[in-house]
C-alpha cells in the first residue's frame, strides 16, 4: 500500500510538470544549454579559465541590454561585448604593469556596471531580474531558435577542433612548435566561451552562468583520467543538474537558476567527497588494494 502510494507520488512528481508546455520547453532548452556548457566546461577547467569565464559572462550584460533596446537578437550584442571584453583585457594587460587577475576583475565589473546603469536609463520592457537570474520558464520562440543555432555552432566547433584544443590547453608550446596556429585556437576557445555564456545566461542568468561553465568540468575532473570520459561525465552531470534543478524549482517554488546551480554544486560536493581516486574518502581504497 505504502509502496503504491510512493510510486504514485513519484510518477506525479515526474509527470505533472510535463503537462505544462512551458515546463517541457524549459526542460528541453535547459538541457541543451547545459550540454553545450558542460561540453565546453572540460576545456575551461583544464585551461584554468574559470575567472575568464566569469569575466566574459558578466561582460555580456551591456550587450544584452543594448540589443534588446535596439530590437536586435540579444545573442549578437552579448557576443560582441563578450569578445570585446576579452580583447580589452588582453590590451590592458599588455600595456600596463597591472597583474592579469586584477585586469580581468577590473574590466568585467566595469562592463557589468555599465549594463546595470543602461538598464536603469533605457526605459524599455527589459526585465533586469530575468537577465541577472535567468528565466528558463519564460523563454520565447525566437530565443529558442537562437539557442539551438548557437548550441549547434559551439558543438560543431568544439568537435572539429577537439584534438587541437586539447593540445592547446595541455601544451601550447608544442602546438606552436609543430606549426599549429595557437592564436587561432585561443580566440576559438574564447568565441565558444562567449557563445556558451550567451546561451547559458537564459537558463541561470548572468550572475550564475559561470557555474554552468566550470562546475560540470570540475566534477568530471575528479572522476576520470581520460579526457573523453571527462567530457561525457561533464555533459551528463550538467544535464542532470538542469533537469533536477527545474523540477525542484517547480515543486518547491524556487528560483530556477539558483536551483540548477545548487544541484550542480551538490554533485560536485559528492564527487569531492566520494570520487574513487580523487575524493576525500577514496572509496576504491576501501574495496581493493589498488
Amino acid at each position: 500500500m505504502d509502496l503504491c502510494f510512493l510510486s504514485t507520488n513519484i510518477t506525479s512528481f515526474v509527470a505533472d510538470p510535463l503537462s505544462h508546455e512551458f515546463m517541457r520547453k524549459a526542460l528541453l532548452m535547459s538541457s541543451l544549454v547545459a550540454a553545450v556548457c558542460g561540453f565546453l566546461s572540460s576545456y575551461l577547467t583544464l585551461k584554468g579559465w574559470a575567472l575568464m569565464g566569469d569575466a566574459v559572462s558578466h561582460s555580456v550584460m551591456p550587450g544584452v541590454v543594448v540589443a534588446y533596446a535596439l530590437g536586435l537578437p540579444f545573442s549578437l550584442g552579448a557576443f560582441i561585448f563578450g569578445v570585446g571584453s576579452v580583447a580589452l583585457i588582453g590590451f590592458v594587460k599588455q600595456k600596463s604593469r597591472v597583474k592579469e587577475d586584477t585586469v580581468i576583475g577590473l574590466v568585467f565589473t566595469g562592463f557589468f556596471a555599465l549594463g546595470i546603469v543602461l538598464v536603469s536609463k533605457i526605459k524599455s520592457n527589459i526585465d533586469l531580474h530575468s537577465i541577472l537570474f535567468g528565466s528558463p520558464l519564460g523563454i520565447s520562440l525566437s530565443d529558442v531558435k537562437q539557442t539551438v543555432f548557437i548550441s549547434l555552432l559551439v558543438v560543431i566547433l568544439l568537435s572539429v577542433f577537439r584534438k587541437d584544443l586539447i593540445l592547446y590547453c595541455f601544451d601550447p608550446r608544442h602546438a606552436k612548435t609543430v606549426g599549429i596556429n595557437v592564436l587561432f585556437l585561443h580566440y576559438l576557445l574564447l568565441t565558444c566561451l562567449s557563445l556558451a555564456a550567451v546561451v547559458g545566461l537564459q537558463s541561470v542568468g548572468i550572475v550564475l552562468v559561470v557555474a554552468m561553465l566550470i562546475t560540470p568540468g570540475a566534477t568530471a575532473y575528479l572522476l576520470t583520467d581520460k579526457f573523453d570520459n571527462m567530457t561525457i561525465i561533464s555533459v551528463i552531470s550538467a544535464i542532470i543538474s538542469s533537469v533536477f534543478g527545474i523540477y525542484f524549482s517547480f515543486w518547491f517554488d524556487l528560483e530556477t537558476g539558483g536551483s540548477i546551480v545548487l544541484v550542480q554544486t551538490f554533485i560536485f560536493l559528492f564527487a569531492f567527497l566520494f570520487a574513487p581516486r580523487y575524493g576525500i574518502f577514496k572509496f576504491k581504497k576501501l574495496f581493493s588494494s589498488y
Binding site: 593540445l167 590547453c169 595541455f170 606552436k176 612548435t177 606549426g179
Partner: protein, 254 residues
C-alpha cells in the same frame, strides 16, 4: 661557397633579443649548430635558458636578430616539423587527463589533417617511439599516474615520433631515476649517430662533460661559446654564475 656553408647549419641564431613587456630576458645571443652536434646550454635560473628555447621554437617573438633553421625561416621549420621541444617537468600540467599514447600522438599532429585523425604510418611511428623509450606497457596509462622519469620519457617519445631533426631539451636529467637517466644517455648517442642536432639545458656539470661537444654559457647574453674542452673552464663558469666559483656551486670535484 658561403651559401653552402650557411645552409649547412641546422640552427643559426644571430644577435637575438627577447624582452617581456620591456624587461630584457635575452640580448645579442648567437648560436650556430650543425647536424650531429650536441650542445649544452648552461646558466643560472633566470639567465634566459627557457627564453632561448622559446625563441627557437617561435613560442615568443624575438625583438631583434635573426633565426634560421636549416637555412629557412622559423615558420617553415615549424611546418616541416624540424624542431621538437621536450619540456621540463614543471613546464606541464602532470595531472592533465591524457595517456602516454595521446601525448606521443601529439608529436604527429603537425603532419596530420585538420581533424588529426591518425593514419597507419602515424600509429606505427607512435608505437615505435613508445618502444624506444621502453614504455610499451604504460601506453594507455594517464600521465598523472607515471613517475617523473616515465613522464620525461613520454615527452622524449613525442619528440621521436615527430621525427624532428633538431631536439631542444629543457633540463632532461632533472628529477629522473637512474634507469631513465641511462636510457636518455643511450638515446643521445643514437640521436647523434642519426645526425640529429641537440640543444639541452642542464644544471649538472658532469652531464655537460659527458655528452656535449659544445657548450653555450649564458647570463642574459652569451658569456662563452665553443668546444666543451676549451670553453667549460672554471673561469668561464664563475663569470656565468655571477662571480660564484664552481667549487661553491658544484663541490670541489667539479
Amino acid at each position: 661557397m658561403d651559401e653552402l656553408n650557411y645552409k649547412s647549419y641546422r640552427i643559426e641564431a644571430e644577435n637575438i633579443c627577447v624582452d617581456y613587456h620591456g624587461k630584457v630576458a635575452l640580448y645579442d645571443a648567437n648560436l650556430r649548430l650543425k647536424a650531429g652536434q650536441i650542445c649544452g646550454l648552461v646558466g643560472m635560473n633566470g639567465a634566459g635558458k627557457t627564453t632561448f628555447f622559446n625563441a627557437l621554437t617561435g613560442f615568443v617573438n624575438i625583438s631583434k636578430g635573426k633565426i634560421r633553421i636549416n637555412g629557412e625561416s622559423l615558420r617553415i621549420a615549424q611546418q616541416d616539423q624540424s624542431i621538437a621541444y621536450v619540456p621540463q617537468s614543471e613546464g606541464i600540467d602532470s595531472q592533465f587527463p591524457v595517456s602516454v599514447w595521446d601525448v606521443v600522438m601529439m608529436g604527429r599532429y603537425g603532419s596530420m589533417n585538420i581533424l588529426r585523425s591518425p593514419r597507419e604510418s602515424d600509429i606505427q611511428a607512435v608505437k615505435d617511439a613508445i618502444e624506444r623509450v621502453d614504455l610499451m606497457e604504460f601506453s594507455s596509462t594517464p600521465i598523472g599516474n607515471l613517475s617523473g622519469g616515465q613522464r620525461k620519457r613520454t615527452f622524449l617519445a613525442r619528440a621521436i615520433a615527430q621525427r624532428a631533426s633538431i631536439l631542444l631539451l629543457d633540463e632532461p636529467f632533472a628529477g629522473v631515476d637512474i634507469r631513465t637517466e641511462k636510457l636518455i644517455s643511450e638515446l643521445f648517442i643514437q640521436f647523434k649517430n642519426e645526425g640529429k642536432t641537440i640543444l639541452l639545458s642542464t644544471h649538472d656539470m658532469i652531464h655537460v662533460r659527458e655528452f656535449c661537444d659544445l657548450v653555450l654559457l649564458i647570463n642574459k647574453t652569451v658569456v662563452a661559446y665553443g668546444e666543451t674542452s676549451e670553453v667549460f673552464t672554471p673561469e668561464n663558469i664563475t663569470s656565468t654564475f655571477g662571480g660564484m666559483s664552481p667549487d661553491v656551486l658544484f663541490g670541489p670535484e667539479s
